[in-house]
């Protein structure tokens, strides 16, 4: 159902704005992968640039702070923002929790390995580090942790804008106003 556009140009204006329409498939695709909604709607350049921006920031955050910047258990508030990147962020968190954290031998809880510990691949338990065997990753601290988390969280917040743009879409180019999904709309 078309939604009235508050920014529609008045009658007689040079460039009429096309009405926004709810696009459920594009919304779903946008949630699954950044920019996929715009790609589906035919705005392929927008989709590619949105994906480059969102994933660039998210991967940039991972590069700066390491995998520890995406952690739903130790950093739940920031993870809400990071999760808006979509399954990519959820997958990174899953790998972090299940393949890089160690099980504390005393409490039985998952935690980052200490510098003198390694991860037993069979049990996931923390074991003493030895030659050629160290912690699976180093937890970011201080400013590097803040910046890595900031990059990843801003990526998620920007992806929310990208998702909303795909879900309630208004083609900017009148020539793209109608057509088949995936083609020129």
């Amino acid at each position: 159902m078309p939604i009235p556009d508050a920014h529609a140009a008045p009658a007689g204006a040079a460039q009429p704005t096309l009405p926004e329409e709810f696009e459920p498939v594009a919304a779903l695709l946008a949630v699954v992968f950044p920019g996929a909604g715009q790609w589906y709607l035919g705005d392929r350049a927008r989709g590619v640039f949105a994906a480059v921006g969102v994933l660039g920031l998210f991967l940039g955050g991972l590069l700066i702070g390491g995998i520890s910047v995406v952690d739903r258990k130790d950093n739940p508030i920031w993870f809400i923002g990071e999760a808006l990147v979509g399954p990519v962020a959820l997958g990174v968190d899953y790998v972090h929790q299940h393949h890089f954290k160690v099980i504390d031998p005393v409490t039985g809880r998952l935690r980052p390995a200490n510098p003198d510990e390694a991860r037993d691949p069979a049990t996931g338990r923390a074991v003493k580090a030895g030659p050629g065997r160290g912690p699976p990753y180093v937890k970011a601290l201080g400013r590097v942790a803040e910046l890595g988390t900031l990059f990843a969280t801003i990526a998620g917040m920007l992806n929310l804008i990208v998702i909303l743009d795909a879900a309630w879409h208004s083609p900017r180019d009148p020539a793209l106003g109608a057509g088949t999904p995936g083609g020129a709309r």
Partner: protein, 81 residues
């Protein structure tokens, strides 16, 4: 050198203790690339809009830094010597 050899990308944090502020540029650029992708009416203007927004963010942050510096270093001592 040993630190650089031991660093594992995407697993370990980068060593940016004194150069962290240089990340403002990539951060501003990334924000502009994603935001302007869904905001520019015509993609022909995209590159210019991205560069403009990146410059605006960097200039605004530098001005905020200067303002904060002046406030802390000069104004606060006047208020509470």
């Amino acid at each position: 050198m040993m630190m650089l050899l031991a660093w594992r990308p995407f697993l370990d944090p980068m060593s940016l203790a004194s150069t962290w502020w240089m990340l403002l540029g990539p951060l501003a650029l990334g924000i502009s690339v994603a935001y302007k992708a869904v905001r520019v009416p015509d993609m022909k203007d995209y590159a210019g809009q991205v560069l403009g927004m990146t410059a605006q963010i960097i200039i605004a942050m530098v001005l905020l830094w200067i303002g904060s510096f002046l406030f802390i270093e000069y104004l606060v001592p006047l208020i509470a010597p």
